[in-house]
Subunit: 252 residues, 2 copies
DNA sequence: CGCTCGTTTGATATATTTCAAGAATTGTGG
DNA sequence: CCACAATTCTTGAAATATATCAAACGAGCG
């Protein structure tokens, strides 16, 4: 298990948490000093299974992942998409029994942190506890927006909304620009995120292209006019609570 | 502002938090000693408006409330339903700016607790912080289930699922039995919770009745065969994390 | 270079919505 | 406590967004 360092794989998490809550030197040291095991994962591999009693909390160091559940009908519903720096199963590990799956979209690496170490950390350093809490509160806000997206927006709007969310989050994570980025998901996965059929997702992507809102070549998305796409997607970034984030040191 | 006491309106919250986390005498005293203002609210009144910067966190003491957002199309999506003992806007008040509305379904009372007092409490008493965190984690789990419900279940299943959730939560809150309870919402509100049309909700309720799964007279719901309804509703209570709750003193 | 997975397109089916109106229940002012 | 108004619930018929089924096309991979 690694010593604290600037190049620690835990660094993206530290940066993210600092966005939510002021952390002093001791807090930072404690975070970077968390014991962890680096685990390389292939595309499609599960990080947590529904029903598990996870002993570790996974921090996504590279690659993309999603949370999902399988309904009784066999249909899959994706509930969130995650990228570098996201703690992908605080929810499951804190609650004891996983109520959903976490699966890799692409290949990547996850730092596995023992739940016990996290519990001790938040007991010892309340500011870190608060930061982690905020992280889960923002996740909650995103879940709420997804309920609206899936429940009360038509297919076109729904997809445009997801394109906006991913664009913005990639930009904030330093993994692309909102105006041009690489979509990490297939259209089938997109479909399970917006609760539509892959066929229909495809048609709507074509339509958004035909209307000049986006351009695509394979998975590469170019957003011609951000404001227009946001309008079509009924996208108001407030729910991401990015404004709550404090000034950050420039990423390495 | 009230002194701590057995009959404090904050007592239902204490009981709920004790379910998530062991609290010592000092923790309990600190919770019951929280400053608060009792606010009577009429049916339909807003507790928090989307966009507000709430200075208080509302604890629902009596009556029912829900969270909702209005999509760009004007359609409303209800994201959760709340009852006695629920803290209805930790989310909004902790995040600073409300990203959704909280509105009373029925008349009721809300204890308004200053956000500052809560922040001080969690700083001073980490166990209480942990309990509140669990509360929001469980809320998050329910949000995730609702994404699935609204996204990947057909109308009949969706409604049966909601009937089960409400039944069970009423029972746990000591406000009814799962086999016979008073539905606090109109069919129009039900519709906005499951993302359907009121007309269609009505038809499906009639259908569930015709199939002998439930009986209704006005808002009174009788569940003839719980297991059958749960099966039709693809309802697996795990997401409510009730098993995490520890033994409780019998309610007064 | 052939296979597999992902995307694209077309034709048809269907669950749910929309529109409309009547019946029942609840609330309210006199 | 009644009568009227306003919700809420119920039912029917027609419209439509999205799903389903099916097949071809394209691109990455061993």
């Amino acid at each position: 298990m690694s010593p604290p360092s600037e190049s620690s794989p835990l660094h993206p998490m530290l940066r993210k948490l600092q966005g939510w809550q002021a952390l002093d030197a001791a807090d930072c040291e404690a975070i970077l000093g968390l014991p962890h095991l680096m685990r390389p994962l292939k595309a499609g591999q599960y990080v947590v299974w529904d029903g598990d009693r996870p002993q570790f909390s996974g921090l996504l160091v590279s690659g993309f992942a999603y949370r999902h559940k399988i309904a009784g009908s066999g249909a899959r519903q994706i509930m969130s998409v995650h990228m570098r720096g996201d703690v992908v199963d605080l929810h499951n590990s804190m609650l004891g029994v996983a109520d959903h799956n976490v699966q890799m979209i692409t290949a990547g690496e996850v730092a596995m942190i023992p739940v016990e170490a996290i519990r001790e950390l938040i007991a010892a350093r309340p500011a870190v506890g608060a930061a982690l809490w905020f992280e889960t509160l923002v996740d909650g806000s995103i879940f709420r927006e997804w309920i609206v997206n899936v429940g009360r927006r038509d297919s076109r709007t729904r997809i445009a909304h997801l394109l906006c969310e991913i664009a913005l989050r990639l930009e904030v994570a330093g993994l692309g620009e909102r105006s041009a980025y690489e979509m990490p998901m297939t259209q089938e996965q997109l479909a399970d995120a917006v609760a539509l059929t892959p066929v229909h997702v495809n048609r709507m992507l074509m339509a958004l292209g035909a209307d000049g809102l986006i351009r695509r070549s394979q998975r590469h998305i170019t957003v011609a006019d951000w404001d227009a796409l946001a309008k079509v997607g009924d996208f108001d970034a407030r729910y991401l609570h990015l404004d709550r984030r404090r000034a950050q040191p420039v990423p390495a």
